[in-house]
Symmetry: C2
Subunit: 128 residues, 2 copies
DNA sequence: ACTTTCTTTTACGTAAAAGTCAATTTTTTG
DNA sequence: CAAAAAATTGACTTTTACGTAAAAGAAAGT
């Protein structure tokens, strides 16, 4: 079960360029193996890419995405580190809740716009 | 009720710089009045700024924000324009729903991390 | 073996979204 | 009304997140 992905497979799957994936590697977000000079991506990398792109869609910067990814790497052993991590999780949660609220607000304004459009359409049909 | 806001009042309220607000004006997103050269913001501008920042938090580009703002400007009269607008609303809604899904996914991963942290904490308390 | 197609590295380029600085107004306040 | 504080404009700089091009090594089909 050691399926490898080539870089172009992944670029096609996710609709990003090779440059982008290499950039993420330079940034230390993913760590594909090498056979000679060629990169070999495993499903762990593939999953990381998914998470990176998710963060990107949400408007997180690379550094913020890095933070989130590091959080995912699982809880550390030491107490202080654990507490620090839980603080960070709380912070991210707060940001995400803010974004969620922003989305709800925007969606509800779009609803109003939609209603106004429908009303105007109805007017047009009756014939103004 | 013609309350005007000065630029610094607004920068303080929203935590942005004057440069930022001028930038938004240059981009045609807001249109403060002028008394001489000084900008006078009305509550309509203030509200627009809120929406701009909301879009910014969601990772929309200035152009995307501009699109959203233009949508808010109310339905046009002509049929073709109306249909175009409703298409655009549908697109934005789709983007927002994607973002919402991304948020849910991320939040639930953070939940797992949190649980793992708590579990580890419990272990530590028992004494490993 | 040859051509085509991938891939890599290196390096420079760029667009978006402001930040920063400097030189003037303009406004406010003592 | 003079001095200080705030605002404006314009130019230049910065950061982020890649794009693009060149040159060359590797793989794979014919």
């Amino acid at each position: 079960m050691h399926k490898y992905f080539t870089i172009t497979e992944l670029t096609r799957e996710f609709g990003v360029s090779t440059r982008t994936l290499r950039f993420y590697e330079d940034e230390g977000l993913i760590h594909p193996e090498r056979r000679g000079r060629t990169r070999l991506f495993r499903s762990a990398d593939r999953h990381l890419i998914k998470e990176i792109l998710r963060g990107r869609r949400l408007g997180f910067t690379i550094n913020e995405i890095r933070e989130i990814i590091e959080i995912y790497k699982g809880p550390p052993g030491e107490l202080g580190q654990l507490q620090l991590m839980m603080t960070r999780v709380a912070e991210k949660r707060k940001q995400l809740n803010q974004k969620r609220q922003d989305i709800e607000d925007t969606l509800s304004e779009l609803d109003h716009v939609d209603e106004a459009c429908l009303a105007r359409l109805a007017e047009l049909r009756v014939g103004s």
